[in-house]
Amino acid sequence: MTNVLLATILAIFTTMALALWRAIRGPSVFDTIVGVNVFGTKTVLLIALIAYFSGNNDLVDVALVYALINFLAVIAVLKLVRQRDLAASREPSDD
């Protein structure tokens, strides 16, 4: 079972490298956001897997906090990109 956990951890690392490449390379800012979003989700999974791989059960709490922070960061960055201001209250007249 240790080998299975190790293989899954390596697969997650590969995915994180690919997503980071897209986040650095990405032509528009939304490609960067997609890469960072995939990277953050895989970070949560990686921490949960490392908690089982090393037997250190407290790391699951860290993964839980990461799952919350990741979503808030993506939404905050999207709002900042769209409105140039995190304190804006209303959408400008579009769509």
């Binding site: 079972m1 299975v4 956990l5 293989a7 899954t8 390596l10 697969a11 997650i12 590969t14 995915t15 994180m16 490298a17 690919l18 997503a19 490449w21 897209r22 528009s28 939304f30 490609d31 956001i33 997609v34 890469g35 979003n37 995939v38 989700t41 895989k42 949560v44 999974l45 949960a48 897997l49 089982y52 059960n57 699951v60 709490d61 993964a63 839980l64 799952a67 919350l68 990741n70 979503f71 993506v74 939404i75 999207l78 990109v81 769209r82 579009d94 769509d95």
Partner: protein
């Protein structure tokens, strides 16, 4: 009798989840525009946590860890589709056009892959 079976199912779920994650990463790198990349990233971001966290829950059984992992899974299943939807909507509102077959042919098939 039941213990090796649960171990086998858990190993299968973990390896399948890892394979889905890698396929999603390849799609995020190789697809041509933002919407297809979002499709690859968003869909596999939903199925890979489901399989991997499910496999880990099967390993630990009735334990406090299982509850925390199911909580993580619940948050991820709510937040990743919402983040994907918000990203696609923001890209559409920013005026990014999807790459279609006609537009690619009009631009001389120069942007074939990346």
């Amino acid at each position: 009798m039941i213990e090796p079976l649960i171990t086998l199912i858990s190993a299968g779920m973990l390896l399948t989840g890892g394979a889905f994650a890698v396929i999603g990463g390849i799609g995020v790198v190789r697809f041509p525009d933002i919407y297809t990349r979002l499709h690859a990233g968003g869909v596999t971001d939903t199925i890979a946590p489901l399989l991997i966290v499910g496999g880990l829950v099967l390993q630990s059984g009735w334990h406090q860890l299982s509850f925390k992992l199911l909580l993580i899974l619940l948050f991820l299943l709510f937040t990743t589709p919402t983040a994907s939807h918000a990203t696609a909507r923001a890209a559409m509102a920013a005026g990014i056009e999807p790459v279609t077959r006609d537009r690619r042919r009009a631009s001389g098939e120069s942007s074939s892959n990346t």
